[in-house]
């Protein structure tokens, strides 16, 4: 989902609010706080998300500096999501196996607490062996047009991105649909009135074909 190469698929967002006059410093600081932090093998979190530099999305130790996200009047960043997924069926079988082994060793491990402890131990072991599933989506904020392009269409993904973007830059993002464009267009008072009561116009009636035996 690259801004730099290939075909482009994206959602359009209208930005409500403007960047502050000294936005270069403020945004650099804000991005430092919302920078992506990788999942730690010893940690407990199963997912992590944040902003990354566009050109080096996996250089986790480097800070996001002005020259990495400011391109003239525009801001270009990567939004990264990492997650570790433990398949339910696999976890169930592994927990069952581990509990059976412990019972054979006469360790009285029964009940929910013991099961949870075994499950946590297995998850911890597995976290060291498996790589998180990682996704980087580019985003582009044109400050002169006050619009954001997010180069993906997934509902959940875009909702998480919008929430992080709004927290980071202290602005609101609104999806730019055709309805939104109609509401915000420079219509006359009479046309605005007409828009309020506008209903779908049928070109042809829906034909539903049913098979008759």
């Amino acid at each position: 989902m690259g801004i730099l190469s290939g075909s482009l698929t994206y959602l359009r967002f209208r930005v409500e609010g403007t960047a502050p006059p000294n936005f270069t410093e403020i945004f650099e600081e804000a991005l430092g706080v919302r920078r992506f932090i990788p999942l730690h093998p010893e940690g407990e979190d199963n997912e992590s998300f944040g902003f990354v530099p566009l050109q080096k999305p996996y250089a986790d130790d480097e800070p996001i500096l002005n020259d990495q996200f400011l391109f003239g009047d525009c801001i270009a960043l990567g939004y990264r999501e990492d997650s570790i997924f433990f398949p339910k069926a696999m976890m169930r079988d592994l927990v069952q196996k581990r509990l059976s082994e412990r019972q054979e060793k006469n360790q009285s491990d029964r009940g929910a607490v013991a099961k949870q402890a075994v499950q946590a131990a297995i998850m911890s072991e597995m976290r060291r062996r498996i790589l998180p599933k990682s996704k980087v989506v580019d985003c582009f904020w044109d400050l002169s047009r006050n619009e954001v392009r997010f180069f993906a269409r997934g509902k959940g993904l875009s909702e998480r991105f919008v929430a992080l973007f709004e927290q980071t830059f202290q602005v609101k993002l609104r999806l730019k649909t055709f309805a939104d464009a109609a509401i915000l267009s420079n219509l006359s008072l009479m046309d605005k009135g007409a828009l309020e009561t506008l209903k779908p116009q049928e070109i042809f009636k829906i034909v539903i074909r049913t098979e008759v035996n």
Binding site: L11, I183, L187
Partner: protein
Amino acid sequence: MRADDQDSDGFHGKTSHQRLSFLGPEFLTWLYFHIDQVGGEILISKILPKWPSREQIMRIAVGKRINLRPLTAPEMRVSIVGTALDDSGEVLQAIRAGAYIDSLSLDFVIGERLHHVIIQAVDGAISNAKTEQSFSVTDTMEDDENLSMQETTAESILLRMSNLDEIEDLLDGLFIQFLNRRLAHVFLSQDIFSMRQTVADGLVAKLPGMAKAAGSQMSVDEEVST
């Protein structure tokens, strides 16, 4: 559409965005017929009075993919892939059955620039956008060895984004043209009539067996709407 979208325009019940969501499919359906009506050539100054480029004519054509579905029965989705969809009996047949265009593949040519996009009616997204220039970004930068990697990246991003700006401006201009007609009587008296006529004529030409049905149903619909 986000869950926390607020109705800021004073519409009641559903949010105004949800209530007017039919404008997307209606626009793409109108555009499909409009392209045919204007012969694939649009005077840019007519839709964008402040157009900055020197090219004044945009050539626009329907691409190779169209998805259709009725407004009230989204599960009845039809996907049509192929060439010459601007004159496709299958598309006309789906519209005749009450479907609206849900996503429309378009090719724009403005001067030497060729853009290919798929427009999504529901969320206004642009997908599979491909932009072609008569020169490539790397070609123009090869000569200038003084450019740093950062500058090269910036040039590349800004050029690609300016192509998307152009596509969006033209689409927005076309949408406003549609909206102005949609809110006027001319939409019902001319545009809807013209769409029905095109469908009827197209089906008669493509599917001779449909001639009677298309013609008769059209007259019934006209009676209902009037």
